[in-house]
């Protein structure tokens, strides 16, 4: 892969990020009232102080100037101050971010581990019983909303069977193996809810992608050389079938973040998703804006990673 391709991809991510920041700022600017200026509308504050505050925060400036100020502040890492938690927004988000990334990462691994074998096997024997059962289960999987699966799992594994805890604890006691065991137990359900949903929606893409590859001449060549079905699938089909799936995993990221917010809310996982809901319910505008911006940034980042991976996996793309 050439350096030029890498550079072009990275440069293309900048306008996307700017576009997203414009949309976010427009939403904020169109919103009634001054979301950042609760002090300003307080009747106990004298008019002169109000005017000074308005001038200080630049609320009377033209919109484009306010946008530039906001953007520069965001770029400097000055994300504002949480009204509720009384700490800087960026510190708050950085505290919560690792949990979210861990849950999303683990669930993506689970989703791929389910979707790839099932999808490839279904493509190897299209319209067989296995294919039909897998297809029906996939439909059921992505028609079950994550919030309902979460509640069903809590009902079954926590309340009926009493196997797993249904509240995720950030400050898990103990150390060593006991700590890891507890961490595993409390992560199973959030990761499974997200991973199963994601896996179900990926199965069909993997299947159709593998079907396209199986038809190609080089697969027939491999078969006619006498290589067994298993080896043909694993060594020849899967590798090429996975290339489009990489893009799909990245394109699905916005949906995954939506699922992560719900899962974190159900299982009380202290990530940025539950932070978003909590700050919306307590009118903590700087945190709401910050978290939304982080989600947007993560989506752009994953798209970028997928583009780079795509160019690495399929060199034909990079030369275009």
């Amino acid at each position: 892969m050439s350096g030029a391709y890498l550079l072009r991809r990275i440069l293309l991510a900048i306008p996307a990020m700017l576009g997203i920041s414009v949309i976010l700022f427009t939403v904020l600017a169109l919103a009634p009232g001054d979301p950042f200026g609760e002090l300003v509308s307080n009747p106990n504050v004298p008019a002169s102080v109000q005017a000074a505050l308005r001038a200080k925060f630049g609320l009377d400036d033209p919109v484009w100037q306010r946008y530039l100020h906001w953007l520069v502040a965001m770029l400097h890492g000055d994300w504002g101050f949480s009204f509720v938690s009384r700490i800087n927004v960026d510190t708050l988000i950085l505290q919560r971010l690792p949990v979210t990334i861990a849950v999303i990462g683990a669930s993506q691994v689970l989703a791929i581990m389910i979707a790839v074998p099932v999808g490839v096997l279904a493509a190897a024997r299209p319209y067989s019983l296995f294919d039909q059962v897998a297809n029906t289960l996939a439909f059921i999987g992505f028609s079950l909303p994550t919030f309902f699966t979460g509640l069903l799992m809590i009902l079954l594994f926590s309340i009926r069977l009493n196997w797993l805890p249904f509240v995720f604890r950030a400050d898990l006691p103990g150390a060593g193996w006991a700590w890891w065991w507890g961490e595993l137990q409390q992560s199973i359900m959030p990761v499974a809810v997200l991973g199963l949903y994601q896996g179900a929606s990926l199965v069909r893409f993997v299947r159709s992608s593998a079907m396209d590859v199986i038809k190609l001449d080089y697969v027939t060549t491999a078969r006619s050389k006498g290589i067994g079905q298993r080896r043909v699938l694993i060594r020849h089909v899967v590798r090429n079938a996975l290339i489009p799936v990489v893009t799909l995993v990245a394109l699905q990221m916005p949906v995954v973040f939506g699922g992560a917010i719900i899962t974190e809310q159900i299982f009380r996982v202290p990530g940025i998703g539950s932070l978003l809901i909590a700050s919306i319910l307590s009118n903590d505008t700087p945190v709401v804006m910050g978290v939304t911006f982080v989600f947007a940034g993560l989506v752009v980042l994953f798209n970028l990673i997928a583009d780079i991976l795509y160019g690495w996996l399929d060199p034909r793309i990079a030369f275009r």
């Binding site: 996307a16 919103a31 009634p32």
Partner: protein, 317 residues
């Protein structure tokens, strides 16, 4: 076009041996052909029946089941299913069947209305991009790429958080939230439809029948509305079906997070939100609305799959 002449020429000069027999058959209309293909998808046919039952139940339910949705009965708090309350009651002793019927009306109405918003916006933008090409097309596709990479749920939550109170004052509690949710869900989901329509336009606008219409002096608008758009509708209908399912899930998600409709408007998602704290003593409260969302979404998804078999000419069965 040059490519079309030899094919029709050979078909006229050398009649195939079976041609007379096939010509004797009555012509099959496109709708009939689509239905024939659709019927092959057994699960889609079952789903149509399930969805119809659900819609009929929701539509005529209030006349058959006359218990009011806000009839508080502290004598029957969190009661399980019984003859007086077939789906049980909630923490205030309100009848869940009546609330499910009402909630279904809201959920399905939101689903259909948000789909209409998404499809109308998508068709208009896709058609403009598909006809214009050049810089306008590039700009619109850049915008659709941008919208595709927006994190939908966080943005949805942000917009509802910022605009909820204003619209509530303008349009009343229920109406304001309804308009807001429909416009925002629809406004964030037009991109797939726009891309589909654009791709269809690119191939259709070069076809002979469009050229013929243009040669006869049809205006641009007439070309689009009468000639190109009707031929591009197949994939759009499929996408629209899936959009209904997506919108129902989106609305339920908002309600489940406590940020959708207010508590006195029972929607399926809102009922799940209220029920989650009573899972241990009243699981029926969560199971019935959850199952209703699941059934509605699953059947709509299967119908969409069946419609894809029926309407998408690119797929050979």
């Amino acid at each position: 076009m040059a490519g079309s002449t030899p094919a029709s020429l050979s078909a006229d000069t050398i009649p195939p041996p079976g041609g007379i027999v096939s010509r004797a058959k009555p012509p099959v209309s496109p709708a009939r052909e689509a239905w024939r293909r659709f019927r092959r998808h057994r699960l889609a046919v079952i789903s149509i029946v399930v969805l119809l039952l659900l819609v009929i139940g929701i539509a005529i339910g209030p006349w058959l089941w006359r218990t009011p949705i806000d009839d508080i009965d502290f004598g029957a708090q969190l009661a399980g299913p019984s003859w007086t309350h077939p789906f049980g009651t909630d923490d205030l002793g309100q009848d869940l069947l009546a609330r499910m019927i009402h909630g279904g009306r809201v959920s399905l109405a939101v689903g259909v209305a948000a789909m209409l918003v998404a499809v109308i916006v998508g068709v208009v933008i896709g058609a403009i991009a598909g006809m214009a090409s050049g810089w306008l097309d590039a700009l619109l596709m850049w915008a659709s790429d941008l919208f595709l990479s927006l994190p939908q749920l966080p943005l949805l939550l942000l917009i509802i958080y910022l605009f909820r109170d204003t619209l509530r004052r303008l349009l009343g509690t229920e109406g304001g939230v309804f308009v807001l949710i429909v416009v925002v869900i629809g406004g964030l989901r037009w991109m797939p439809v726009a891309r589909l329509v654009r791709a269809q336009f690119f191939s259709l606008r070069e076809k002979e029948f469009v050229e013929a219409a243009r040669a006869l002096g049809a205006s641009r608008l007439r070309l689009v509305v009468r000639h190109i758009l009707p031929n591009a509708m197949g994939p759009v209908i499929v996408a629209a079906t899936i959009e209904v399912a997506n919108a129902i899930i989106a609305e339920s998600t908002l309600s489940f997070l406590g940020l959708g409709f207010p508590p006195d408007v029972p929607t399926w998602g809102r009922m799940l939100f209220d029920a989650q704290d009573y899972l241990d003593i009243a699981p029926h409260w969560a199971l019935f609305p959850g199952a209703a969302i699941f059934l509605a979404v699953l059947s709509i998804n299967f119908i969409g799959d069946g419609l894809r078999d029926a309407l998408d000419a690119r797929r050979v069965i």
